[in-house]
């Protein structure tokens, strides 16, 4: 399924209805939306571009990975950062929005892969949820290295523990798993499990470190990158990632890139505060 050419599954503009919106942790929520057309065609690692408010003062959509698909609903795991995500946190069952999706190229994990290591920092767990379920369903052995500031913020832990063979944790404050960065966990798992592929998403500095670990270990690494996005469909060139083949658009050429291709030039989204 992951090797399906994206061009066969074109994005649509779909009216979506909020089915549930639950707070999972301080500043983190899970939004469930009825979106039959997107749910039917989205692949792991793809995202939706949400129009959160209809006013003119906030004129851009906001991109969110599809975390899971359940029936004709899609789930989005979100962190409250600014006005868009604040408005999102205020949505209630029955509210309507519109979404463009599915967008982008997701995780391309070839059929031959037997063991995959997923590395998630904070909300980086979002695009890895569907992937973990998908790989497990295909019989791939999945290990997960999951990091967050606190135990409470390990928001996708239950999903990963359900489908993965092994989930190892790191928290800044040591409230779950080891105290420290998820990159220590990923280094250990890379060495111990000898995965065929590493899939990583999280703050760019962390993703880059994991990519280096994978390169050192000679393991292929895919990384999902975030950029500020205007159109989300490839038209505006606001979201470029510097790669060995030039500046590519995260929204259509990514958001998942082969880590080998990425030139880490500090052009990531400015750090959250």
């Amino acid at each position: 399924m992951c090797s399906t050419d994206i061009h066969e599954r074109r994005p649509v503009l779909e009216h979506v209805e909020v089915m549930a919106n639950d707070r999972l942790a301080q500043g983190v929520g899970l939004l469930v939306m009825r979106a039959p057309r997107i749910a039917a065609s989205v692949e792991p690692g793809q995202f939706v571009h949400l129009r959160i408010s209809m006013g003119t003062d906030s004129i851009l959509r906001r991109p969110f990975s599809v975390h899971r698909v359940v029936g004709d609903t899609i789930e989005v795991l979100y962190q409250v950062l600014g006005r868009g995500t604040r408005d999102l946190a205020g949505k209630r069952r029955g509210d309507a929005m519109d979404a463009i999706g599915p967008l982008g190229h997701g995780w391309k994990v070839e059929p031959g892969v037997a063991h995959a290591l997923l590395v998630a920092g904070g909300l980086g767990a979002a695009p890895l949820g569907m992937l973990a379920e998908d790989l497990a369903g295909r019989g791939v052995a999945v290990s997960v290295a999951l990091g967050a500031p606190t135990a409470e913020r390990l928001v996708a832990r239950a999903l990963f523990e359900r489908v993965a063979r092994r989930v190892e944790l790191a928290t800044d404050d040591g409230s779950a798993g080891e105290a420290g960065f998820v990159t220590s966990v990923s280094a250990r798992l890379l060495e111990r499990d000898l995965p065929d592929i590493v899939c990583v998403c999280g703050p760019e500095i962390m993703a880059r470190r994991v990519a280096e670990q994978a390169a050192d270990a000679g393991v292929r690494c895919l990384v999902s990158l975030e950029r500020l996005m205007a159109c989300g469909v490839g038209a505006c060139l606001s979201c470029v990632v510097t790669t060995k083949s030039g500046r590519l658009r995260a929204c259509v050429d990514g958001p998942v890139f082969d880590a080998e291709e990425v030139v880490w030039d500090g052009s990531e989204v400015p750090p959250r505060h």
């Binding site: 074109r10 994005p11 649509v12 503009l13 129009r51 003119t56 003062d57 906030s58 004129i59 851009l60 959509r61 463009i100 950029r227 500020l228 996005m229 205007a230 159109c231 989300g232 469909v233 490839g234 038209a235 505006c236 060139l237 606001s238 979201c239 470029v240 990632v241 510097t242 030039g246 500046r247 259509v252 030039d265 052009s267 990531e268 989204v269 400015p270 750090p271 505060h273």
Partner: protein, 316 residues
């Protein structure tokens, strides 16, 4: 109605939406604004391109340009800043890939042209002049996001006239000059490019602006400054369209914050022959079609037989 299907009612509609603009006969006065619609391919999933008045492409230069570092955009109150910096694959790749694709879509193609020097502008225009599927060219002398060229040509009458003359010398196709709002007197520049042989002017390009993150103390754009677009700049754009339309005889293409059919009507009343929809397509990929359908309804409701009757019909 579904923006992807051609309108069955077009033929029977009582409102004539067609406009003549610089020798081009357009189906309606609604175009895409350069740089917000790429070459249309990305939006073809959401709308039928043949319904548009014209597709105006992203800026094309002689050689490939890499554009500016990221972050390249920042949202502001009712607007956004961009500092894309005219990233493009160069005119040859554009012709081979984008133009070839567009040629099959029954829509007039206006190619937006960039350059660092007068020579480069002219070389691109000359190259495009050879392509039958190019209906016209829009010369961007107003991009605030490049160091050499760009806005420097658009803020000085002599330089603006020089670029226009050089382009005029190498093409007989409709030649539109895109003006910068970052000037003391935009009518002056308009008069200069009119005298130098332009067939039309388009305005406004983005307004030079800046956004800062108070906590990190950094500019939100890697390039520090960028161009402001969206509803925030509409009042400035309307004023400039009105000033320019009052100052020259050439047709004016109005843009800057067009989001609804009423916005389009306002630009036409101020003197625009056609309008372009830019930033609005980002939040609503079918914005152009909404504006076209809305224009038709507006004309029907208010008894306007021909949409071009709105042009310059401001009551003072």
């Amino acid at each position: 109605m579904d923006p992807k299907s051609p309108r069955a009612t077009d033929a029977s509609s009582q409102v004539d939406l067609t406009v003549d603009m610089a020798g081009l006969k357009l189906r309606n006065p609604v175009m895409t604004a350069s740089g917000t619609f790429a070459s249309g391919r990305e939006y073809a999933d959401f709308l039928d391109l043949s319904r548009l008045g014209a597709v105006v492409t992203k800026g094309v230069s002689l050689e490939p340009w890499a554009g500016n570092a990221s972050p390249r955009i920042a949202e502001t109150a009712s607007g956004m800043l961009n500092s894309i910096g005219l990233q493009n694959p160069g005119v040859e790749a554009f012709v081979a890939r984008d133009l070839a694709w567009l040629a099959g879509h029954d829509v007039p193609v206006i190619v937006n042209v960039s350059g660092h020097t007068v020579k480069e502008y002219a070389a691109v225009v000359e190259r495009l002049d050879a392509e039958p599927s190019v209906a016209g060219m829009e010369i961007n002398i107003s991009c605030p996001n490049v160091d050499a060229g760009g806005m420097a040509f658009g803020t000085d009458c002599t330089a603006a006239a020089e670029v226009t003359r050089a382009a005029r010398a190498v093409t007989g196709k409709p030649l539109i000059i895109k003006l910068s709002p970052n000037v003391t007197d935009i009518a002056d520049i308009a008069r200069a490019v009119e005298a130098a042989g332009a067939d039309a002017v388009s305005l406004i390009n983005t307004v030079l602006g800046m956004s800062i993150d108070a906590r990190s103390r950094r500019p939100r754009l890697a390039r520090t400054v960028g161009g402001l677009s969206g509803p925030a700049i509409k009042p400035v754009a309307l004023r400039m369209v009105w000033q320019v339309a009052s100052a020259i005889e050439l047709p004016v293409i109005g843009m800057g914050g067009v989001r609804t059919a009423e916005d389009a009507v306002e630009f036409m009343l101020a003197g625009a022959t056609a309008v372009a929809v830019g930033t609005a397509s980002f939040v609503d990929p079918t914005a152009t079609i909404r504006v076209i359908d809305g224009l038709e309804s507006f004309c029907q409701e208010t008894g306007v037989a021909h949409v071009s009757d709105l042009t310059g019909a401001l009551v003072l």
